[in-house]
Symmetry: C2
Subunit: 100 residues, 2 copies
Amino acid sequence: MELDKLVHQPTRLQIFTHLYANGETTFSALASALDLTEGNLASHIERMEDADCVTVEKTFVDRKPRTTYELTDRGEALFESHIESLESLIDRIDSDDGSA
Amino acid sequence: MELDKLVHQPTRLQIFTHLYANGETTFSALASALDLTEGNLASHIERMEDADCVTVEKTFVDRKPRTTYELTDRGEALFESHIESLESLIDRIDSDDGSA
């Protein structure tokens, strides 16, 4: 079974999960929800953006800059297939009852 | 959420899963079941042994050397808690219905 390293990396898996579960999210909300430093979050988001998995929108709210992120269709599809791989891995454990 | 890198690494996650589901397994059976080169499998097993997660037994069968691997109690416990983390991550997706 091939586990996509872009999605499977521990921090990115949580970024994908948060964006998939919550939709459009600001940089600061994402950083605080996942307890990440800004530098760490920025580097993973850049990797995801390069892979066309997330879109970045920069707007102004009350004249303050606001950056939000959202998974692209490709990002959602990659994440969904990764979750299916993890679920099939977990099912193998339950079905084989590894405690023998 | 902290995802244990020892267990979460894609190849090791599949080694942990296979050993957890099937119990004691020979090196060659593990390499072929997971489609791994001997060098790749050996390096991951060494990492798991260093972390006291797998025991290695060397015996002779019909005068031929046979090496088998089995998760230690610590290895099983680490793997079970990792699977719980993955399951809680997956539950968050289902409960929040990320398709909004």
